[in-house]
C-alpha cells in the first residue's frame, strides 16, 4: 500500500538561499546525472525535510493500512484466502518497518515518527480513513488500492534518495503478489453467485471516490512542487499517476462486468482519461481529520502503542544483558 507523495503542501524555497550555492549546484548536478543520494552525502535541508515527510507518511500508511484489511483476516472465507491475507497484511507491516528504517537514515527516529502519527501531526494515505464493511471492500483494497500504490511506487523507485529507492524496489516486488492475490479474489466474486457479484459492485461504488482521491488533488489545484520534481523526490504529477492507473485498471474492471460509478468516465481521442472531477472539498475534510474512520484508526494505533509500552521498556533497560537463545 502507499501513502504520501501526493499531499505536499506548497513548498517554501526561501531556505535554499541559506544553502552553499556551490554545494547546491553540485547536488543538483548529481541528481541530474541520475546518481543516488546516500545518507552521509550533503543535501539541502529542504530535501531532507521533504523526504522525511514523504517516507514517514508512506510508513504510516502501511501500518494504518494494515487495519482495514487486517480486520478481515479473522473472517476470511476458507484456508486459501485466510493464509494469503495474513501473509499480505504481514508484508504491509514489514513495509512499514523497512520505510521507518529508510526515514531514520535522514535523522528522525521511529519513535518520534510514531508519536507524530498518533498525535495527529503526520498524515497517512487518506484512503484508509474509509471503512471496510464487507469482504468485498477488503478485496477492493487488495486489488485496486495496491494497484494504485504500485503505480506511485514504481515511479518513486526511480527517485533520487538511495535508501528509499532500494526499499521501494523490494516493496514493489511484494506488492505485485498482493495485486495478483487481490485480482484473484475479485475474479472469484465476479464469476461467483449473484450475491457475490453484488457485494463487489457495492464495494466498487463505495470505494471509487476515495480511489480517485488516492492520487492527490488535480494538478490544476495542487501545490507547486517543481523543486521536488527537479530533485526527483516527486516523480510525476498527481494527474499523470491517476491517468496511468485508469489506463491500466478501468479496462480490467469493465472486463469483469462491473460498472464504475462515473457516467463521464471515458478515454478521449488523445489517450487521456476524462472523468467527473472528484470532490476535493471532501478530500480536504477527510485528510484534515473529519473522515468516517480517522478517529478510530488513530485510536487503535494509540491503544496498541500504549499497551506495548512496557514491552518496549523491558527491551531498552534489561537488568541482565542480552542472553543467547536457548535452542
Amino acid at each position: 500500500m502507499y501513502g504520501g507523495g501526493n499531499t505536499f503542501e506548497g513548498i517554501k524555497t526561501d531556505s535554499l538561499a541559506q544553502e552553499d550555492p556551490g554545494m547546491l549546484a553540485a547536488f543538483e548536478a548529481r541528481i541530474e546525472r541520475g546518481e543516488k543520494i546516500e545518507p552521509s552525502d550533503w543535501m539541502p535541508q529542504l530535501y531532507r525535510k521533504q523526504l522525511i515527510r514523504m517516507i514517514e507518511q508512506h510508513a504510516h500508511s502501511e501500518i494504518i493500512g494494515a487495519l482495514p484489511e487486517g480486520t478481515w483476516i479473522t473472517r476470511a472465507p476458507g484456508f486459501k484466502r485466510k493464509m494469503a491475507l495474513m501473509a499480505k497484511v504481514q508484508d504491509e507491516v514489514g513495509h512499514a518497518q523497512l520505510l521507518y528504517s529508510a526515514a531514520e537514515t535522514l535523522g528522525k527516529s521511529r519513535e518520534q515518527m510514531i508519536d507524530d502519527l498518533i498525535n495527529g501531526k503526520s498524515k497517512y494515505s487518506n484512503i484508509f480513513n474509509y471503512p471496510t464493511f464487507t469482504w468485498a471492500d477488503c478485496c477492493f483494497i487488495s486489488w485496486l488500492v495496491d494497484a494504485g500504490a504500485i503505480v506511485n511506487q514504481l515511479a518513486n523507485a526511480k527517485g533520487s534518495y538511495g535508501p528509499y529507492c532500494r526499499a521501494l524496489d523490494r516493496i514493489c516486488a511484494e506488492e505485485s503478489f498482493h495485486l495478483k492475490y487481490g485480482h484473484h479474489c475479485v475474479i472469484y466474486l465476479a464469476s461467483g453467485t449473484a450475491k457475490q457479484r453484488q457485494m463487489f459492485q457495492e464495494a466498487l461504488n463505495r470505494w471509487w471516490p476515495p480511489m480517485m482521491h488516492f492520487f492527490g488533488p488535480s494538478d490544476k489545484i495542487s501545490a507547486h512542487t517543481e523543486v521536488l520534481m527537479r530533485w526527483k523526490v516527486k516523480m510525476g504529477t498527481n494527474d499523470e499517476m491517476r491517468n496511468q492507473f485508469l489506463d491500466m485498471y478501468v479496462p480490467k474492471i469493465w472486463e469483469l462486468g462491473f460498472t464504475i460509478p462515473d457516467p463521464n468516465l471515458k478515454k478521449n481521442e488523445s489517450g487521456k482519461w476524462e472523468y467527473t472531477e472528484p470532490d476535493w472539498e471532501e478530500f480536504k475534510r477527510v485528510i484534515n481529520g473529519d473522515g468516517p474512520c480517522n478517529k478510530e484508526r488513530l485510536e487503535v494505533r494509540r491503544v496498541a502503542e500504549a499497551r506495548g509500552q512496557w514491552v518496549r521498556e523491558a527491551l531498552k533497560t534489561p537488568k541482565t544483558s542480552y542472553v543467547t537463545p536457548l535452542a
Binding site: I63, A66, L67, G70, W72, I73, T74, R75, A76, P77, G78, F79, R81, K82, M83, M86, A87, V89, Q90, V93, G94, A96, Q97, Y100, W135, C185, Y188, L189, G192, T193, K195, Q196, V300, A304, R307, G308, Q309, W310, V311, R312, E313, A314, L315, T317, P318, K319, T320, Y322, V323, P325, L326, A327
Partner: protein
Amino acid sequence: MNTALKELLYKMADDQLILGHRNSEWTGMGPLLEEDIAFSSMAQDKIGQGLALYTLLQTLGESDPDTVAFTRNANQFHNCILVELPNQEYDFSLIRHFLFDSAEALRFEYLSHSSYEPLAQLARKIRGELRYHTLHANTWMKQLGSATEESIARLQNALEVALPYALGIFEASPYETELIDKKIFIGEAALKEKWVSKIESVINQTQLHLPDWKTLTPVYGGRIGKHSEHLQPLLDEMSEVFRIDPAAEW
C-alpha cells in the same frame, strides 16, 4: 485404528487452527512492529499446519478442510481450552505461546517417529517450523522474564493464570493405550513429563518461578468438546463470510 488416529489428528488440527486464529489477531496491534510480524508468521505456520492435518483427515474419509474448519460448532471442536482464550495483553499471549509451542515442539518431535507414516512425514516438516516458534518464545521469555519489575510481574501473573489451562493440553484421549501400543504416538502422559522439564529449564533461566505442579488443577474439557464461552464467538467470526453461501467459491 482409524477412530483413534482421527481423534488424535482432529485435536491437533483444531489446536493449530484456533491458536493460529488468535495469533493473527495481533496483526497491526503488536507491541512493536517486529513482534507484529513475528506473531503473523507464527499464525501463518499454525493455520498451515492445521490445514495439513485436516487434509490428512480428508484422506481418512473426513470432509474437506474448509468444510471441517468453517462449519462446525464449538462442541464439535477438540482443541484444548488454552488456545481459545482471548489474547488479552501481550504478557498472556507470550506465555501461552511459550507453554503451548514447547509442548508442540516435543509432540511433533515424537510424531516424526510415528508408525503412521503420513503423519510421521508431516511431523518432520512441522517440527522444523516449530523450532523457530520455540526459539522465539524462549528468547522473549528470557528477555522479559529478567528485565524490568513490571515485565517480570506481568509474566509471573500470566504464567500463573495460564498454567492450569496449559495442563489441559495433555487431557488424555479415550484411545491413549491404542495409540501407544500401535506406536502411533507416545501418549499425553509421557509428553507432559518431558514438557514439564523443558518448561522448568527455561523458567529457571529467568527471574520467574513456577508454582508447585501438585497444587495445580488442570482445566480439561476441550478435547471432548466442552469449551469456554470464548470459542463459539471466535468460530462465528471465522465463518462470517463463509456462511453467507457455503456452496460459493471465494
